[in-house]
């Protein structure tokens, strides 16, 4: 506080004065003022840093630490060996990856054209759509699962509607494919939010120029549009993938413990009455984080290499 209020009064003589001989003085004073302002700024940031340390970093360290210890507090890799050796746990990872990659792909496939059309709308309409997409991406867990059960469940109205229309093969939302569809509901909205800003790089002028030199729309997107977008497409896919891999509430509400997903296994091991095993839960969670961090690191490395 003190540094804040005194800053201007100390800098004032520097701009007004300018006598020879005191050249060193004001500079030194200026420096100390600047560092006091910086210290003050740091104090303002401190509460957030403290909370991030205690509620974001510390928990991660805690589970990593826990995963490396056995019940007696001795360092061990046995937890990892147990999980990697278990066919059941390995298949949980496979299912999670399939559901996540599938829903992320669907999200981008649908979200990209929508975001592209959004570009040509009036700004206010864009804002509205984006705000609702933002809010809509929070419709997770019970509300979402429940809505889907009512619409597409065994006696859901859409299931009946589709049956009446004679469209065969109803969507089984309790299956893995069903999970992909329910996840995709969220992924599309997230994809719109993530891709819309990067579409700004494709200006109408670039599209017009491509038309002028004779490229078809398809040619334009294949040779120019998608290459321009490719970094953000990859980045968005990774983020959507991570989002789906970490989804717990929606899957829990929809299929309970029935689907073999990593997050459901973690929840079971953490709080289940029968299978509770904190160390294993932490190990599984640590492995899940590793699976998610690796693509991010690879992507960052690729980005760095592509712009030397």
């Amino acid at each position: 506080m003190d540094g804040e209020s005194r800053a201007p009064s100390l800098t004032l003589p520097r701009s007004g004065g300018g006598q020879a001989g005191t050249r060193l003085g004001p500079t030194m004073q200026g420096l100390s003022v600047r560092s006091r302002v910086k210290l003050c700024a740091f104090l303002f940031a401190l509460p957030l840093l403290a909370i991030l340390a205690l509620f974001e970093i510390a928990p991660l360290l805690a589970i990593a630490w826990n995963s490396l210890h056995d019940d007696d507090g001795l360092i061990t890799l046995a937890n990892y060996a147990e999980i990697l050796g278990s066919r059941f746990q390995r298949s949980a990872f496979v299912t999670s990856v399939l559901v996540s990659a599938g829903s992320a792909g669907l999200g981008i496939l649908i979200g990209l054209p929508v975001a592209n059309i959004l570009r040509f709308m009036p700004v206010r309409l864009q804002q509205t759509v984006l705000t609702y997409a933002n809010i809509g991406s929070n419709f997770t867990g019970f509300p979402l699962a429940f809505a889907f059960i009512i619409m597409f469940g065994l006696s859901g109205s859409f299931t009946l509607l589709l049956a009446k229309l004679g469209i065969a093969g109803h969507l089984d939302i309790y299956s893995t494919a069903g999970l992909v569809v329910v996840y995709a509901y969220l992924q599309v909205q997230l994809a719109i939010l993530l891709l819309f800003p990067s579409l700004g790089a494709i200006t109408p002028e670039i599209e017009e120029m491509a038309t002028m030199v004779g490229a078809s729309r398809l040619k334009f997107w294949w040779r120019i549009g998608l290459p321009i977008l490719s970094p953000s497409l990859i980045g968005s896919f990774i983020l959507l993938f991570a989002n789906a891999m970490g989804t717990y509430a929606t899957a829990y509400a929809l299929v309970g413990g029935n689907a073999n997903l990593v997050t459901l296994r973690i929840g079971e091991l953490a709080a289940g009455d029968v299978y509770s095993d904190p160390q294993l839960a932490d190990t599984l969670a640590t492995l899940l984080i590793l699976v998610l961090i690796v693509p991010v690191i690879v992507e960052q490395a690729l980005l760095k290499r592509s712009r030397p």
């Binding site: 790089a201 200006t203 002028e205 670039i206 017009e208 120029m209 491509a210 038309t211 002028m212 030199v213 004779g214 490229a215 040619k219 040779r223 120019i224 290459p227 321009i228």
Partner: protein, 341 residues
Amino acid sequence: MGYIEIRGLAKRYDETPVFESIDLDVERDEMCVLVGPSGCGKTTLLRAIAGLVDPDDGRIAIDGRDITRLPPKARGIGMVMQQYALFPNMTVEQNLAFGLEQQKLPAPEIRRRVAAMIELVGLQARARARPNALSGGQKQRVALARALVLEPKLLLLDEPMSALDAQIRKRLRDELKRLQREIGFTAIMVTHDQEEALVVGDRIAVMQSGRLSQIGSPHNVYGAPASQEVASFIGDFNILAPAAVERLFRHRPGRSWAIHPGAFEIAAHRHLNGGAVLSSDCFEADATVAGMQMLGPVIRYHLQAESIALKMDVLNRPSHGPIAPGSPLRIRLSAADVREI
């Protein structure tokens, strides 16, 4: 019959005309400059010629072939946009080659034409660079080369220099003229800068609120403006209403006078009081210097005469000092330099 022939072209947005009754002819290998204040509709007109905007009325023909309803790529028109719009994911070479590839030309032919064009605009050293590694002037040259490599029947330039600083602008202006001499192309360029228009254009079309108010050679448009608007936009003329002329020179004309700032002379002596018609072809008036601006080759004096503000340009000779503000002087005007409009 011009090589490029535009007749009665019009475009409206929600009943408000952007431009209307546009008639314009451009000869082969001629550079026509469309000049006008911002918002006069010149960019939309250019985009209509390119096929990026559908005109509501009128027709456009190139070399006798009606192209009004053709899609942009079938018109044989090249374009350089204000912001260049280079393809950011492609190198300079690839930017040039892209259009040729769409024409399904054989690869060796494409390579040859791209290399020749890159040499012509002097970008050999940057051939494999991507647009974001180029300077503004280089981007501009790539945009120009990308349009020219397709050998268009007509080249459209939409304010191609407006994003550049003054120095590079002048150099590229000369370069554009050099290229036109060397390979010969027909072009329509849009600008809001009247000086640029006069330097670059073989033919100038002045556009004001959606209409072409005068078309002619630079000399003709600058020296003989057809309307008060053209006079004040292109030549920065003094426009005097008949009543003002009478106050100044004791002579009442039927119409307003347009007087170029360079047309005034400073009379040697103050031998008469008030304005006068010396003879039928020469006028004089007393004035006071209110201020001056150093424009470089000329000095612009802002004069007050009978409480009328006048602009006067005097050749800036190093041996002559500037006239101090407040000084009285007598100005003389030859009737031949007066344009009644």
